[in-house]
Symmetry: C2
Subunit: 362 residues, 2 copies
């Protein structure tokens, strides 16, 4: 029997039909002219969703966390100071990844559920080589002000995690001063997990590590792979591209851009507001700080006396609805409900609300 | 218009229909019990195709080259001597990856087209920490004797690249003394590229680097991800699994094991022999050394006066047949023809032979 789920957790979300359809197309070789065209178009569409003109914008051939690793191993020189804003699990992970790349990490800790305190981050070190922050914290459902970090970054490179923000809420890499950004496909882009949309500007590329510790994620080698150096004719073999996943990303991006980014953002905004208003109406308390709540990923406190896991199990078994547990210390006291990509719709908001209401009554 | 190709190059090959069908199934969450079951079964089937009982056998969430990187970053301690057999592009790449991981590399160079000279490799250093070799060199179409390396490795760890051998020719990781092995999905396994089937035994795991430079490929963290530590209940979140690709690998493996490995190997053997005999019959010269030729990947010299790229282009445009150029210095003087996975069939051999014959007459 085929299991079909409503994926209303923190990701993956149910893909756009165009993304799934592309997975079923006949496979192409990774150097086939027909595939190189798909890859070029994919990179071009990624520029649009990133809000960037960066030539070096590409889908890295691994999941979002590998995008994080690519960001740090290509920019951290031994002993570089990296100021990392930590307001959730993914900020914390950045510290681990940056220190393995040889950075001296200055972690600026925040209470979970709060947005990044821009002034505190900018004051944490007089001359950091890198400032890093998560735009949309998947662990807490919180949005932070990346533009303000970019405005105050000085000579530092700004690395931004946009895994849960890309194609869901406003993201303008160039306008905001993002030097290096990475994302995932499985949230608001509405594609299965497996690729890390990545962008790096000329300023960061010029400062890059010449021979990073990772061969697989070496951006100096990856440039030739996507034909950056000399157009499609100049493709050099680095590794075999995950052709099916790239075709699927192409399908998802085509759908997103046909709808148009402002419309897509508005759809996420509406679905999230419906859900968050509805949760408060039935007496639940939202976890993320007011004013910084992500529409695409809602965090809500588990009411006192309710068995968090039992409710999630009931939703899954009775209605095929997946919602997420909390992260870290909040594993059993918070739920995470995502309405991302294809699921950012009023009907999805109404369904998960109704099902949760029923589960809490039982 | 949809482009449909016969993928007779060095990979990817046309997937088994079961692998493609799985990509179209409804997406599951990466922590869904239904997905964890698919992951467990996938790891179990991977043990069979690797010929191993290793608990730590899993699909790494990136392409085969990331498997190579995982092998070295988890086993190379600073200054460790790694003896690497270099008889083609992928042996050469191992040297680069190993040295970025901090190894003192002793490269044992061979003429391309020749198998690994086991005695020379074993004599290259009195006490290496690591010996590494490619089982089936994708750049040259050559098979090497991994069992002999395993028998003579002494205290060293044996790292083996099985990207182009797994599920195509005999591979017995445990019997042959392979301590760490990595592979790809897009060759004889008949699945799209995107995952790296990986295995590491207890001996190598015990000697591993505690905190490798790569967070993404840290096997100490990946154990929990596939539930090795405490069964399915003990799954810990590391990164979001590429669920669609894992489901597809599950589909491909199911097909391979239903047919049975000996039958699959025999099918590759027969298709390769048909092709190689046929090429010699029409007066072409094979590149790989006699006695060491891979059935799944044939290398053949481009006849004097023939424009290698023009023939490949003609095959692609006239018949939708992809064959590969040569690698490295042999880019324009050798063709690489793969009959791998679902394409390891007499009809595929006959088709590519007939088309090549026609192209050479024009």
């Amino acid at each position: 029997m085929i299991t079909e789920r409503f994926l209303f957790g923190p990701g993956p979300s149910n893909p756009y039909p165009e993304a799934t359809a592309a997975l079923g197309l006949p496979l192409l070789g990774h150097l086939d002219p027909a595939f190189l065209e798909i890859m070029d178009e994919t990179c071009e569409m990624l520029r649009t969703v990133w809000g960037t003109d960066n030539a070096r914008t590409l889908p890295i051939s691994a999941t979002g966390s590998a995008g994080m690793e690519a960001a740090f191993v290509n920019t951290v020189h031994p002993g570089d100071v990296a100021v990392v804003a930590v307001n959730g699990l993914f900020g914390k992970r950045m510290c681990d990844v940056a220190s393995r790349a040889g950075a001296e990490v200055v972690a600026v800790e925040h209470d979970w559920g709060q947005p990044v305190d821009v002034e505190r981050v900018l004051a944490a070190h007089p001359a950091p080589a890198i400032i890093a922050a998560v735009h949309a914290e998947t662990s807490t459902g919180v949005r932070s002000d990346i533009a303000a970090l970019g405005a105050g970054k000085g000579d530092a490179l700004l690395i931004t995690d946009a895994v849960t923000s890309i194609a869901g809420i406003e993201l303008r890499a160039d306008d905001w001063g993002i030097d290096v950004g990475y994302a995932g496909t499985q949230k608001c882009l509405g594609v299965a997990p497996g690729l890390a949309p990545f962008t790096i500007n000329d300023r960061a590329f010029a400062r890059r590590v010449e021979r990073p510790q990772s061969w697989y994620l070496d951006l100096g080698l990856l440039g030739g792979y996507v034909g950056e150096a000399s157009g499609s004719g100049g493709r050099t073999y680095h590794h075999t591209a995950p052709v099916a996943m790239v075709a699927s990303l192409h399908g998802g991006l085509t759908r997103v851009l046909e709808e148009g980014l402002p419309a897509v953002w508005a759809r996420h905004e509406e679905a999230g507001r419906l859900l968050q208003d509805g949760l408060e109406e039935i007496g639940l308390e939202l976890f993320a700080a007011k004013g910084s709540r992500l529409p695409e990923l809602t965090t809500v406190k588990v009411p006192e006396g309710v068995d968090s896991a039992a409710v999630r199990r009931q939703l899954l078994e009775r209605h095929n609805i997946e919602i997420g547990a909390g992260a870290g210390a909040y594993a059993s006291t918070v739920w995470r409900i995502g309405l991302m990509g294809h699921n950012a719709r009023p009907d999805a908001a109404m369904l998960v609300l109704a099902a949760l209401k029923e589960a809490l009554r039982r």
